[in-house]
Amino acid sequence: MAITAINPQKENEKSRKPLARADTQFSIVARRFRRHRLAMVSLLVLGVIFAASILARQISPFERDYLNVESGAKFLPPFSTSPETGAIHWLGTNQIGQDLFTRLIYAARISLTTAILATTLSTLVGTILGTLAGYFRGIVDSVIQRVIDFFSNLPTLPILLILTAVLVTDPRLIPIPTFLIKLLQAIMLFDQEREARVVAALILILTLLGWTGVARLMRGQVLQVREREFVEGARALGASSLAIITRHIVPNAFPPVIVAFTLGLASSLTAETSLSFLGIGIQNPIPTWGNMLAFTQSYMFERPYLPLIPAFPMFLCSVAFNFIGDGLRDALDPRQTK
């Protein structure tokens, strides 16, 4: 990427140093990635945000839905002290007197977990189906291709809106095992099971509409890798299809999928935020960056700092995911020899 601004001459000097014998593929990639300064900074920023959201309960000075019933506790400016508990509202309070800093951290936890789970699931589905299509070809391939064509010809946002509107209002329409719901509830620190069901429904919808890109990518990769000599060798040695796929094909075809995963995180985050902003995805009282933004929009004339509070972490995360994706793409590029 042009943004990294690498001086080509400096690069050449570095590459003249002989490479150590013990270099593994991983250490080569890691070294190339470390050279991508913006990606490293992004990793750090994301680390801080992740740590804050993991420690949500420990860091946040208030309960998530804590309501300051004192009149005049609405729209407290940042750094003001709560008249009730004496704790400090680092970012002030919202229109009903809830602590914005607390809600922001919980929202980070919810938005990021949703994005990560949705992207992981869709990458998993895409990888499996793409590998099957590329490896077995023939009828398997054409069936999977038709399904991919079907999903990728959908107008994403309208479909997403309609599906979410229906399934989030009545999340019991999708049968999800209770233990998974309980797990999600524990991860997201929800008090009610219903909240976890809503988020689970949204995750599944994002997965349903998000797997085709990875599947197409993986199929293309596998089609190339399966013709390579080491696969032929493995086949000649009598390895089973399963062994060839898991030991030889997937590891060699996977690098572009890692990049797609990172960029997919950004787009899942965007999708969730946009839906929640429209009031169709995750809704109040569950805080997400999207529905926090929707609330601040009504009050931004009097208090222009309000939209910045949820917008800033959203900005940081989206840009960080994209920088890391770019860094990984450069680091994993096999045409690059440095």
């Binding site: 010809n153 107008p155 989206s318």
Partner: protein, 397 residues
Amino acid sequence: MVNFLIRRIIAMIVMFLVITFVAYNVLSLAPGGPLQELQQQQQNNANRLDPFAIERVMVRYEFDLDLIPRYTRWLMGQPNGPLNLFGQEMFGATQVGCLRKGETIFKYPDGRVVVSDCEVPVYLNDLKGRAVSKGILALDFGTSQGVLRGRPVSEVLNSRIGLTLLLQGISSLLALAIAVPLGIYTAVKQYSKLDYATTTVAFLGSSLPSLFWGLMGLLVFAVLFKQWGLPYFPAGTFVSNTPQTVPLIGVIEPESFGDRAWHLILPILILTFVSLSGWIRYIRASVLEVLKQDYVRTARAKGLTERAVILKHAVRNALIPFITLVVTILPGLVAGAIITETIFSLPGVGNLLVAAIYGSDYNVAMAVLLLSVVLTLIAYVLADILYTVADPRIRLR
């Protein structure tokens, strides 16, 4: 080619049917629906509605019918009564729905006893004379159930689509007009100052959604500029009610051309910026890829001018991604600006879709969805045809 088109059109029809059927069914799964309001009114003693009134509404919205007859009536206005074959009415007693649920035991004179969970079934005969749309296949989208209750959906759509077409049309053309030359230029002059500046801006623009840029644009150009006494843009309205005085520009009369433009400039700029950023990156990457190819080196080695190398050899070969890009404008024309329209409260189709979903107006939601599905399908076929024009090596089979 003809063969290909026939197959593609058949595939399109199948896809169209599957998507509409699934979407129609998913929507009808939604709890509540247009009847929820009425049922709440019924529970509320102050405004008592008798159950028969609700049943009449159910009949009008066809909620008493089973999914499949309801879908086919929506699709093509059939069945509208018993099947009429050579003057003979057939299947008149086939049950197609249920008006009132409840376990009922039917005892027939011949001794049969049938237990049904339907108290008042609807038969094919009952559909005779019931009002029905001509079906979407005849371009009749039915009646709006929420947004403008009782009016034809096409009327609702007509009143909204102009604005979205204007927004998306102008912003797409603007974005294309800037992205294509800038994308090519930055690829040719890789690592130049302009390239760094462009790629950085484009990176930021494409990393964040229109939601972010729309709100930030509103914050800076509508809220802060107004406070600072700079020329500002309006927020949250579509037309002015009173003459507005804007610093450095003057007075803007309500409902004038200037007023329209004043309200539309900011959303158009935001839409342009977001699509522009993605497109520049895309075009730059594909031209860079082509510039690395051997035939470009050959063209240079032949002694062609740089201009000829880039325009005749590089750009011509990078046309395929351009086509993909231009074609994606098409489906966006209808529902491509949902977020932007919501942020700026513009009464376009995207806004309509959100309102329809909120108000359980399924006919309107389905109509919007349908238009974007059809446009998407057309766009992909169009892209395939254009590929063969751009690159004679591609043959459609």
